[in-house]
Amino acid sequence: MRALRTPVGLAAGLLLVLLALLAVFAPLLWGSRADAIDTDALQQGASAQHLLGTDALGRDIFYRVLVATRLTLGLALVATFVGVTAGLVLGSLPSVLPRWAGRLVTSAVNIAVAFPGLLLALFFAVIFGTGTVGAVLAIAFAITPSFARLTQTLTASVSGRDFIAAARVCGVGRFRLLVRHVLPNIAEPLVINATLAAGSALTAFAGLSFLGIGVQAPSYDWGRLLGEGLNRIYVSPAPALGPAVAVVLAGLAFNLFGEAAASAASHRQVVRQRSKPLHESTVEERDGEGVLTVRNLRVSFPGAAGWITPVRGVSFTVGQGEMIGVVGESGSGKSLTALAVSRLVEDPGVVTADRLEFAGKPVTETSPRELGTSLAMVFQDPMTTFNPTRRIGRQLAEVSEVHHGMSRKAAFERVVDRLRAVRIPSAAKRARQYPHEFSGGMRQRAMIAMGLMGEPRLVIADEPTTALDVTVQREVLRLLARVREERSAAVLLISHDITVVAQTCDRVLVMYAGRIVEELPTAELFTSARHPYTTALLAAVPDLETDRDAPLAVIPGRPPEPAEIGAGCPFAPRCPVADERCRNEEPELTEVEDGHRVACWRLVEGLPGLDDAMPDEKCRDGELRAGRVS
């Protein structure tokens, strides 16, 4: 009933209640007036006495419209009920029947659903004959195929999920599977669609009655009243318009209510625009002139309860030809950082920064041409990053056609050359293929080749190998490393896998809860990491040398959601060495050695006497304490 919370849903709901009341009470209150024949007032137009005029027998059309509510709604609801039930049965049969029978039902439904409802209704009207019962059945069976199809599609989408397989493994029978697992999970869309179906059944019924093959005299519904009124529309429009308005209003009530319920179900959030987020300038100025300079980068999105800031003041520099790794768990803000520095965060996201410079110029002032040719992007899922409807070659060539003004032919030649450069065999043939004809690793290489269409000074690779097999992963990583060497491009490699970064990069940035918590050279990662999160992460990930007899170190709890981050260090709740200060005040990223920055109070405190290695010891200690099943 979330639908009632929106104004449209509320109005539609009230209208439905009004209709229901009319259906119940109108025949009792005005039944006799609607049937009263008045030979003195035949076929009158609208007047104060007869609001919508009178019909051929002098009966008052306004009251007839009110009284007809019961028959009209009743018939529509009966037809919907019969149709929906039949559709539900037909749609769930395939999951209970033996396979061949199920297929037969499915293909029968597939054929029937191609025919529009009205045509089916006419077809059934011939079989069942004209009249009320015939029309109810005709409309019910016209609804059936589409509802069966809907049930099938929804069932199939649920059946593909693992919990169904899990229940099957547990020995749950087909029928119980359907009733306990499938139907509850598709009930919501089914109810919504049944509401919409009731709306269209109502109008379809009106249509049939209007055509004279629905309700027959002396019974009358809105459609029949409309048909009678239409003959005189030139003389007096009110007798036709009255029932027409009634049909439209009732149809709308069902439709709008269904729509409101549907959008409430899809959890569409109403975003309240509040004042844009403030950004505080809290970063030390260490001027490193690099390919990419980022100072106090923040990315915010409007949420239900104000602004959410998944990236909260990130600062780093990528030097010429450097390979930098960014490590973090999902939700740490690493991918968003990549999108923000390449100006790909779209409205309503807001990006602010004290400095955000690419090749010595603020990114906001860099022309699209320059960004398009000297900043290359490689994204995570190679299956979705290419446009499936265009050939690979065309997608690569676009860069040169748009930014270098190359001819189609010249651009294609460059495409073949670049595909060769990333070692794609028979490049010319491959360039004419569609993305789905490429394997995952090959697509990722084509993506890198796309970056090479220009003269990249920086390649931003966001989890480029997460979706790939290990052997392919290594090839792609090697390719990135080669691009960097041969073209002296800098690389920003984002990964959740600290080992991958350690193997590939010069420096590593560790992100947690939207901030960099540690930055250090990869050579020192395994020996001198200082932040409790970094050390815990290193201990928690098993590699081929992990001691098999000891339990793995674990980090208790889970990373915070952006909205949960309070005043203190966001890692404090999971940190074995956290104290009062950690919980109340967030530490800044501070340089502890040349090229090594850490954001941790416990370490900063211990800094003067670093040689006594107190904090480090404590960290190891905490790790051991945490090293049990939580």
């Binding site: 293909s107 054929i111 191609a114 025919f115 529009p116 009205l118 045509l119 006419l122 077809f123 011939v126 079989i127 004959g129 004209t130 109008t203 379809a204 009106a206 249509g207 209007f210 055509l211 004279g212 093959i213 239409l230 529309i233 030139y234 429009p237 036709a240 318009l241 027409a244 049909v247 439209v248 149809g251 709308l252 439709n255 709008l256 729509e259 975003v271 409007p302 790909l344 779209e346 409205d347 309503p348 960004l371 398009g372 992007m377 994204f379 979705t384 990053t385 446009n387 499936p388 409807t389 265009r390 676009e398 748009v402 930014h403 569609y434 789905h436 004809e437 394997s439 993506m447 796309m450």
Partner: protein, 325 residues
Amino acid sequence: MTQVVERRVTGGSWLPFARRRAVRFLTSLWVLVTAAFLMIHLIPGDPAREALGMTASPDVVNARREALGLNDSLLTQYWHYLGDLFSGDLGTSLVSGTPVADLIGDRLPATLQLAVTAFLVVVVVAVPVGVVMAVLTRGGRRRGAELGFTSTSVVLAAIPEFLLAVGLVSLFGVALGWLPVAGRDAAGSSVLPVLALAIGPAAVLARIVRVELLSVLGNDFVRTARAKRLPARLVYVRHALPNALTATLTLGAMMLAGMVAGTVLVENVFAWPGLGSTIVGSIQQKDYPAVQGIVLVYGTGVLLVNLGVDMVLALLDPRSTIREA
């Protein structure tokens, strides 16, 4: 699994697709023909008696049974029916005595004129409107415009075409007297029927286009196109739109089929001399051969529309040929 897909594709996916699709079309056509044939036999009681009424003498009823071929065995009747269909014989109308094929030949052009014009209007109006609305309201921008657009389209889509027709008649035909209210002869007589038929579907299609385009705009490859720093126009027209069309066309096909049926109601309001006004009369007069013939024509029309759309889809989106294998 990737390997399988690759193999299937390099081996040419068009031929199997065309074969599969042809099989489906022919099966559906067969089902349609059989359903049209069985329609008469599913009528409870004796269709000849039904048609002639209770007062007709047994001789007359029997003669009618003979004329309809109802006295033969079901299989023989079916066989004759199929044979006649192949030779273009759809039977003879019981009411007018003219061949049903001639009747359809007379009336079909008027219906086609209405349906095709209305469809063109729908596409020409709905696609640009949907695209513009999607671009304007992407990422939760311009909430007001979005709300206005969605509510208007829901309201327009919920009004059945025959009521719209009545409204249009009373406004432009009766109150303002600008356009003819009925018939096909006067100049501008097709304007109101086409509008009545097109407005609802146009609203639905515009909505679909917008929703589909919005979901495509959220795709990774659109981000790739933006990362290439292509002009916004290219991102929308070249990368987003073709991908949105796939789903749009699939749903659009169902809508177009619905419009074919919608002509029935609209023709009745405007006394348009097409198939739609004929079939209703035939149903009321229990002129079974005529109903059979017209149902076949409508049904075949729907099947052809679906076939055409699938072909266009296969051209637009090469993956769709390997889907649903």
